[in-house]
């Protein structure tokens, strides 16, 4: 008896899911768009938006004017990561150039630099325009690495015992600091959030608008069966998108998959369920396609882009936004993806992220199903 009841339940869920697949097939362009958009955006973002810093305009103020100081400047600028746009001015003039935006950095070598190197400890100054935080951080790191290297070369012939310049920066996991490596995980989360929340919110709201939801409520199909059956096909599409994004990431941008596939699959599944649940909740509350679209955009697309660590590092967010970001599932999914793809993490490291994703999914689905009364009042 229990078995037939389960069978009937599964039958009704499959009926719902099958109907949804037919809707998707009827409107096949939406599916194409859902699958093509991630690839297109990945390519656009990957090639177009680059956070990589190159050809930074530098004003050099060399007050030492020795062979050693000139050699340092030559070595620092040799790789073309820094380009000298002005030379030999006073510190005040150099700062003026920085303020006008004519340069992004000032490289200041004080008088007595060569003496200091010979004595075994020299300092140079790099003043960076901090109004673009990302550029400033990268410029600083690069300068430190270059100066350290140059210092070792310079120190050689003059037999400097201790490293003449203190700077130890090494970038692990993404040694070239390539944007694509860092973008693909964030982009995957962002695109999944759009498709999952928006499409679910729209399709469920459409049933309210057209009155077919009322017809559905008059049948013995239970609310959990409606919810599961309706979300199942979109879960499939979402997982397909994950695969697509990762494949394109690997082929076009050499983003590896170093860690646990189980953690990757589990994370994607939990994140998608949470996003689908959020879309459902929005449609249950709004029951209107236009309002649902707006609410979905505000509550999923924007936070998934801005508060997930996709573009802005979470550590750099102001405290109130940082607090809000803990409620954004994309944050945990981005962390999971970066962990699996770049750091080679497994479940042992990533389980807290997965637990957070599971909690969000369970919570939002519970609230949505609860609000999804099969009565019209």
């Amino acid at each position: 008896m229990a078995a037939t009841r389960v069978n009937r339940r599964v039958g009704r869920i499959l009926a719902m899911a099958g109907k949804e697949v037919l809707h998707i097939r009827r409107d096949i362009r939406t599916l194409y768009l859902a699958l093509a958009m991630p690839v297109l955006m990945l390519v656009l973002f990957g090639f177009g938006i680059s956070f990589d810093v190159d050809h930074l305009e530098l004003v050099v103020v060399d007050q030492d004017r020795t062979d050693l100081s000139r050699e340092l400047v030559r070595q620092v600028t040799a790789s073309q990561e820094f380009v000298v746009v002005q030379d030999g001015t006073s510190p005040d003039e150099a700062l003026g150039a920085l303020r006008r935006g004519a340069a992004t950095g000032v490289f200041l070598i004080n008088k007595g630099f060569a003496e200091d190197v010979k004595r075994g400890g020299a300092q140079v100054q790099l003043l960076v325009d901090g109004s673009d935080g990302n550029t400033a951080t990268q410029a600083l790191a690069k300068a430190q690495a270059l100066v350290e290297m140059a210092g070792r070369n310079l120190g050689g012939p003059v037999r400097v015992t201790a490293p003449p310049l203190e700077a130890r920066v090494r970038t692990l996991f993404n040694p070239d600091a390539r944007s694509a490596m860092f973008l693909v995980p964030g982009l995957a989360a962002y695109l999944l959030a759009i498709v999952a929340v928006l499409i679910t919110a729209l399709t469920v709201a459409r049933e309210w608008e057209r009155g077919s939801m009322e017809q559905l409520f008059a049948t013995p199909v239970g609310r959990l069966e409606i919810v599961v059956g309706k979300l199942l096909p979109y879960l499939g599409i979402g997982l397909l998108q994950v695969l697509l994004v990762l494949t394109v990431g690997a082929w076009v941008f050499d983003v590896p998959v170093r860690g646990s596939l189980l953690a990757l699959g589990l994370g994607s599944f939990l994140f998608l369920v949470g996003m689908l649940g959020q879309g459902l909740l929005i449609s249950v509350v709004t029951r209107n396609q236009v309002v649902a679209t707006q609410v979905a955009t505000i509550t999923s697309v924007l936070p998934s882009m801005l508060l997930s660590g996709f573009i802005f590092p979470i550590e750099n967010l102001p405290p109130p936004l940082k607090l809000i970001s803990t409620l954004i599932p994309a944050r945990y999914f981005v962390a999971t993806l970066r962990g699996v793809l770049l750091r080679g993490n497994g479940l042992d490291v990533l389980w807290p992220q997965l637990v957070a994703l599971a909690l969000f999914a369970a919570l939002v689905l519970a609230v949505a199903t609860r609000r999804f009364q099969r009565r019209l009042d």
């Binding site: 009937r8 009926a15 109907k19 049948t219 009565r375 019209l376 009042d377």
Partner: protein, 312 residues
């Protein structure tokens, strides 16, 4: 035999507004029961409560043997419902709609195929079954909706304004399908605001402002609420004459339609000849005067007029 639908003091309030006010009636198995009323009279709210879609705020009802407030899920399994708002999936084919609703009610495999085949034949949908539902004319769509509502062979089917916006020819053939359903033992509960359609019902309940103000067979309703003789009159300068006719002794009701009017008179107090002379004297000449039977329109107008007077 227990009635298919038993309604006791059924009430539904939305805030301070009472949509359905203390309604009681019974519908026998296999009966075609008509539920009449103007828009907003509480017809759809009643149907939604009887289908387990809306919880009553007072009173109760048993449908197909189950209480609609306590066991709505069991009620749902035993009934078919065709809602007023068009509720098929218009982007899907006729067959896909039928298949979905059949499987939503638990049919599968060979049984599903047999039932759909049977229904396609009965509703004459064979030629259009692969068409997209939204591309079909209104009358055809209504038939698909009816087919979806009765695929699972429910004991009772609720039809909420099934023929709204459908042309008269299609409406007539739709009613043949309804009569066919009833002849096979299905109880049909149907709301409409087309009075001519209501003549097809075995019994009719009339709703005015949430209250069930009359319940009887069409003939019984006419006898009770539109007694007397109905005369159709036509002629020039009719309007001013009709105005002074109202309130004349023996005139029960005057209502205009098209270029003419119907005058319902008490034959004891006013003969057709007297009325004809009176109208001619007021310039309605040449006058055409014909005997006609009271219709449900007369009943409905009389009842709504009475309710309005009662409120004043």
């Amino acid at each position: 035999m227990t009635p298919a639908i038993e309604v006791h003091h059924l009430t539904r309030r939305f805030g301070t507004f009472t949509a359905v006010d203390d309604v009681s009636f019974e519908v026998g198995a296999g009966e075609i029961f008509g539920y009449l009323g103007a828009n907003g009279a509480g017809k759809s709210t009643t149907i939604r409560m009887l289908c387990g879609l809306l919880k009553p705020t007072g009173g109760g009802a048993r449908v197909a043997g189950f209480d609609v407030g306590q066991e709505p899920e069991r009620v749902k399994a035993g009934i078919g419902y065709m809602s007023q708002k068009f509720s098929l999936y218009l982007d899907l084919s006729v067959r896909a709609n039928l298949e979905f609703f059949a499987s939503a009610y638990g049919a599968h495999g060979r049984e599903l195929k047999t039932r759909i085949g049977e229904m396609v034949e009965r509703m004459q949908l064979g030629a259009v079954q692969d068409e997209v539902t939204g591309a079909l004319p209104g009358g055809m769509q209504q038939r698909v909706a009816l087919a979806s509502a009765v695929l699972h062979r429910p004991r009772i089917v609720f039809l909420d304004e099934p023929t709204a916006g459908v042309d008269p020819v299609q409406r007539r053939s739709f009613w043949e399908l309804i009569r066919d359903l009833a002849s096979r033992g299905t109880t049909v509960f149907v709301t409409t605001h087309y009075m001519d359609e209501a003549e097809n019902c075995a019994r009719i309940g009339i709703m005015v402002d949430g209250k069930l103000v009359a319940l009887d067979t069409p003939e019984g309703l006419k006898r009770t609420h539109a007694p007397g003789r109905v005369l159709e009159v036509r002629g020039p300068r009719l309007s001013p004459a009709l105005d002074s006719l109202r309130g004349m002794a023996g005139v029960l009701d005057v209502s205009r339609f098209g270029s003419g009017a119907t005058v319902r008179v008490d034959p004891e107090r006013l003969s057709a000849e007297t009325l004809a002379d009176w109208l001619r004297a007021r310039g309605v000449d040449p006058l055409e005067l014909e005997d006609s039977a009271p219709t449900l329109d007369d009943v409905f107008l009389a009842l709504t007029a009475r309710a309005q007077r009662g409120e004043d």
